[in-house]
């Protein structure tokens, strides 16, 4: 009688999208934060087009790493309100389906904000890509997945700690360094067209696969931890 992995994932995702649509907590906070970072950095540096190509990758990914923290904290805070997570733990639903649906949901939320804010980077930093733009799309996809897959897992891990909002960045940032480096280097290489981003994209893909599988396998332990 137990629901399958995909059916439960879909049910969780639908529920999360509905909750976010009604509250817009994560989207508003993330969008505002990302917007602030774009404007503040643009006013602080006033870079030329050449300089922009070198720095915009770093600014973009650091902005979205910080902005994603808001969504990641929010996604589990919802489950802690009224202790709804206990109802999930008592049910027959697999823990991995909850993790996967949260990753998908956060991917959609962060991805949407990236789509909305990216044009501002073009305007404020006067960025024109010299390398192929489709490669940028691949890096955005893999980079965003790396942020949310890791972030969703560590947000759940810090769920029962006293200062979870502080704990999440402390856990997440160090382990995200390889992915962040790959995202920034790949983006910069594509924008400047000087070097091939292939190695960094492969590193990012490998990072995504490893951390997604690890999250799926280990999430039951995290969910049932006292």
């Amino acid at each position: 009688m137990s629901g399958g992995f995909y059916a439960i994932t879909r049910a969780n995702l639908e529920k999360d999208l509905r909750l976010e649509w009604r509250s817009k907590d994560a989207l508003n906070a993330m969008g505002f934060f990302a917007l602030l970072v774009v404007v503040i950095f643009a006013m602080s540096f006033d870079p030329s087009a050449e300089e922009s190509r070198r720095i915009v990758g770093g600014i973009f990914w650091v902005a979205f790493l910080f902005a994603a923290i808001v969504a990641l904290n929010q996604t589990w805070a919802r489950e802690m309100r009224n202790q709804v997570l206990d109802a999930y733990r008592v049910s027959a639903a697999p823990a991995s389906a909850l993790f996967f649906s949260k990753v998908l949901g956060n991917f959609l939320f962060v991805g949407l904000i990236e789509l909305l804010v990216s044009p501002l980077f073009v305007v404020f930093y006067n960025v024109r890509s010299i390398g192929p733009v489709w490669q940028l799309a691949v890096v955005f996809f893999l980079g965003t997945w790396a942020l949310v897959a890791n972030g969703t897992f560590f947000a759940a891990l810090s769920l029962r700690t006293r200062n979870r909002e502080v704990m999440l960045p402390l856990l997440l940032f160090p382990i995200s360094i390889p992915a962040l480096l790959a995202m920034v280097q790949a983006t910069t290489n594509i924008l400047s067209g000087e070097y091939s981003p292939d190695m960094w994209i492969k590193l990012l893909a490998g990072y995504d696969v490893v951390f997604t599988i690890a999250g799926l396998l280990m999430f039951e332990v995290v969910l049932n931890a006292e």
Binding site: M1, S2, G3, R22, R78, N82, V84, A87, V90, S91
Partner: protein
């Protein structure tokens, strides 16, 4: 503590604050692991045959009552069929709530939340029903309705374990009244052994 809970019986757990009632219920639900000893379910039981209602509502405030029930029905593997929707509607009716109500749960009164929480806990027809303070903030009419519903579940073969400080609410439905103190069951009484004040006389 060494105790065996039987099928088709409605147990009422009594005791002062800190007696260990909620901890016992959480251990029976598999939400807390005992520091020593073990909780054993009948070999035929699986986790999904347990229905649990905690101190908190275990509901999403931003969803309506029906949306909550349909989500939890899916978690229990009941799918999204027309039959499941009917079951959700019936569960709401059984606790005196209108399935057509389009209000989100955050607009519910505390008593309505309690009733919806009970509907959620028993939606999937569990064999073991664990309820922590289901009658808190519930009016007398709803309390009687909920109490009757718990009696029906017991008659259908469920093991029902209820923590309450309002013993009169289950004085005519409960089968066995257990009093806990410092993590131990210190007294076990049948319905006939209740004191007159406990049955509301």
């Amino acid at each position: 503590m060494n105790f065996c809970f039987n099928a088709s019986t409605l147990y009422v757990l009594l005791g002062d604050n800190g007696a260990g009632k909620s901890t016992l219920l959480r251990m029976l639900a598999g939400l807390t692991q005992p520091t020593s000893g073990k909780v054993e379910l009948n070999a035929n039981f699986t986790r999904q045959q347990v229905g649990y209602m905690g101190h908190a509502s275990l509901l999403y405030d931003e969803l309506t009552g029906m949306e909550n029930l349909r989500y939890f029905a899916e978690l229990q593997g009941m799918g999204t069929s027309h039959e499941t929707i009917k079951k959700c509607e019936l569960a709401m009716n059984c606790v005196g709530l209108d399935p057509g109500m389009h209000r989100n749960v955050h607009a519910y009164s505390q008593g309505m939340r309690q009733r919806l929480s009970l509907a959620r806990a028993v939606l999937h027809s569990p064999k073991i029903v664990l309820l922590d303070e289901p009658f808190s903030n519930v009016d007398a009419v709803s309390m009687a309705q909920m109490s009757r519903h718990l009696g029906e579940l017991r008659d259908a073969g469920c093991t029902v374990i209820v923590i309450t400080h309002q013993v009169t609410a289950l004085a005519h439905t409960g089968d066995e009244f257990l009093t806990m103190q410092l993590g131990r069951i210190i007294e076990s009484r049948k319905r006939a052994q209740l004191r007159p004040t406990e049955v509301g006389l």
